[in-house]
Structures are given as structure tokens and as C-alpha cells.
Amino acid sequence: MHLDHPHASSTALSADARRPDGRRRALRIGLGGPVGSGKTATVAALCRVLRDELSLAVVTNDIYTREDAEFLLREAVLPPERISAVETGACPHTAIRDDISANLEAVEDLEDEVGPLDLVLVESGGDNLTATFSKGLVDAQIFVIDVAGGDDIPRKGGPGVTTADLLVVNKTDLAPYVGSDLGRMAADAKAQRDGLPVVFQSLRSERGVTDVADWVRARLAAWTA
């Protein structure tokens, strides 16, 4: 077990980049955002695209136990042993930011049981615009909003929109039906994010999750470099 190395004891507890056996641990990417914006659908699409080139696993944080995990299982995007559900006591933002202990255990158990892993996607249950991941839990985070949630969300900002390493504006195919102005959303996001990247995507289009997958590949290349 990795705990057999006493010198690692004070550093191998959260964000340490190496497992105590010296191997580099998996890159951890968090996905957060409001309810219904398409986080789980994005995770499912990423799994389908990346599972043949990477060893990956998913941790879900549900408000109600296991809903998102069960969606991923039904969709069969990964074998069940690669999907783990953390129960959050009605507060996913607490479990991904203020008290990350259950998530760290889920990530480490996945590495122990189905590893070695290249990538772990940690999905938050739908939450509010202030919900961000602790840096003790993830190495990078994606914030997912959608055009139907209101095209003023990028303008409103908040920690998720302004500080996430990648902002995804999802369901662009719905924009004409809900009266959302994609140009305005792009301009507002640019103004709020100080140069951080933004992806507009529709998972129903042919391009699908390609841009997000490319971003993940780039992060992984930087992580393993």
C-alpha cells in the first residue's frame, strides 16, 4: 500500500502529483456547472471519445445518490468498475471544495482498483454559479453552462464562469429556439475570463465534444510532460 512510505505521509494526502510509490498519479479534471447544463452528457461524450486512447475513470457527486453514475452506467460509456459515486449530503459544492475527503478516497480507490489511470473526470452535481473545485482535488476544471439557461450568465460571471480553466457553453443548437445571442455570450465570456478559453458546443452536432476532448488531451500532454 502507498501508505507504507512514512516520508510521503504529509504530502500524499491531497494534491501531490506523485503516488507514494513514485508513479505519477492520474490527471484529475473537474466538471461543474448549473443543473441541466449538460455536465453528465459531456462526461459521457468524453468517455466515448477518449476511452480507446486513455485509461480513464469517472467520479460523480450527486445530490441524490447515484443518479449521474447510473446514467453513465446505463449508457455503458465505461465498465462499471471505472465509475464511482460519492454521496454528498445534499451539498455537492461542499464535497468538491470545502471537504474533499470523500472524493480523494474515491479517486485513490479507482487508481488502486482499476489503475494505472491516465485521467479521472470528477463530475459535480448540478450546483450554482459559485461552485468551483478545490485545487486539492483537481488539477484543472471545466465549467459547463448552456444557452437555454439564459444568455446573461457569462455577463453575470461568478467564480465558475470567470476562473474555470475551460468554459463550455453547451446546447448551441438550442440558441435560436430560446432567443439566446451566441455572439453576446462569447463577447461577455471573453470580457470576464481574461484570456482563458471558451468552447461553444452542441453534442448533437457532428463536431460534438471534439473541442473539449482536444483541450483535455492538451492538458494531459502538459501533465505527463
Partner: protein, 224 residues
């Protein structure tokens, strides 16, 4: 000892996973046994004098240096419900991580090696108190208070109960928390001579049965 270290350990925001557990309150709310502040107080009093007393005595004994292996077995013997055993170990593992990061100590490192998937949470709490330079009384107070505070805050979420009413329940129970902690410390002090049989074994069958029922729900807000 440092009084402030006790506040750090007892803080409800100490990041050791407690926020995801209701101490049986979720099942009790659904079963209609908790509907407001008055029966929350009854529920918490029951927890305090059963699960709370046992947890406090385990924590106190661990803080006194009784080996974790013995105390963990004693905790198993006092926890019939497999769901509650699993929850206690899960929380113990999370507390081990948080305590090792907060108060690095050889004893906590040894505990993590011996119980990679977690020892019962009150046992870990006692060792965490030790690592923080606290004593058996402090550990017992933490465990006794936690046995009621988690259920009270969970009920605020579950019933949208007035948070002032829930905190009032805790304040009214405070003198009893002191008495339970005292009894726990007294029992823990006898373990060296009499073995773990000296520890109280007060049981709450409805909590045990309720935990098994709760673990079978397809949809729930809390992990236990």
C-alpha cells in the same frame, strides 16, 4: 493542551466528511419520527445516551492510548448494523486523512497503515485528539457533541427547520453532553485494568434498523 486545538477539531467545518451523513435523521424524518424541533430534541437525546456514549468512550480510550485494534473490535461489537459499520469506517478513513494533514503524527501514520480502508470514526477521533495535544475529556466531548450536532444540522436541510430552533436543541442538550462525556472518560479509564469490556455498550435498536432501511433506499440525500 490547547483549548483552541479543541475548537479546530470540534468545528463542524473540519473537512472529514461529516456533512454527508445525517446520523439517522434522514430515515427518522421520512418515518415521521422527527417532524420539528421538539422531536428532534428527543431523537438527539436518544442518540446522545446510546451511540453518543459509546462513541465518546471509544474516543476517550483511544486518546488515552488504548491500541486502536482493540478499540476497533470493540466498536464493531457495539455496532450490529453493517450499514453503520461501513459508515463509521468510511468516516474514520476520511478523518484519518484530514487529521494526518492537520496534525502530522507517527501514531496517525501507523493507524493509516493498519486500517487503509478506515477504522471506526470515534477511534480515529481519539487518536486525532492525541495528535492535536488534547486529552481524553476533549475527545469524549467531541464525540458526544458530534453524535447530536450532525443530526441537528441534517434536519435543518431535510425539514427546512428553523436553524435557530435546531441550534437551541443543541444548547439545551449541552449539560447532558457534559455528563455523557464524563461517564465516557470514567469508563475509558478502566479499560487498562478491565479490558474493553469496561466500555459502555448502550444500543439504540431503532437507529440500527433505520440505518439498514436507509441503506436500501434508491434515492436519498445523505450517505447515512
Amino acid at each position: 493542551m490547547s483549548r483552541a486545538a479543541l475548537l479546530v477539531l470540534a468545528d463542524g467545518r473540519f473537512p472529514a466528511g461529516g456533512h454527508a451523513h445525517s446520523g439517522g435523521a434522514e430515515e427518522a424524518v421520512k418515518a415521521g419520527r422527527i417532524t420539528g424541533a421538539a422531536d428532534l430534541e428527543d431523537f438527539c437525546r436518544g442518540r446522545l445516551h446510546t451511540a453518543g456514549l459509546v462513541a465518546a468512550s471509544l474516543a476517550a480510550a483511544a486518546a488515552l492510548g488504548v491500541p486502536a485494534r482493540e478499540l476497533d473490535a470493540a466498536a464493531d461489537a457495539r455496532t450490529p448494523s453493517p450499514a453503520l459499520r461501513a459508515a463509521a469506517r468510511k468516516l474514520g478513513r476520511q478523518l484519518t486523512r484530514a487529521a494526518r494533514a492537520t496534525w502530522p503524527s507517527d501514531e496517525l501514520d501507523a493507524l493509516a497503515r493498519e486500517f487503509p480502508k478506515g477504522a471506526h470514526q470515534p477511534v480515529v477521533l481519539g487518536l486525532a485528539a492525541r495528535a492535536a495535544g488534547l486529552g481524553a475529556e476533549d475527545a469524549a466531548h467531541c464525540a458526544a457533541y458530534e453524535s447530536v450536532s450532525g443530526a441537528a444540522t441534517a434536519t435543518v436541510r431535510l425539514l427546512s427547520l428553523d436553524p435557530f430552533a435546531a441550534t437551541g436543541v443543541l444548547a439545551r442538550l449541552a449539560p447532558e453532553v457534559d455528563l455523557v462525556a464524563d461517564a465516557a472518560v470514567e469508563a475509558a479509564g478502566r479499560v487498562r485494568g478491565e479490558g474493553c469490556g469496561a466500555l459502555p455498550a448502550a444500543g439504540a435498536p431503532v437507529l440500527e434498523i433505520g440505518a439498514e432501511v436507509h441503506a436500501g433506499w434508491a434515492v436519498r440525500l445523505f450517505a447515512s
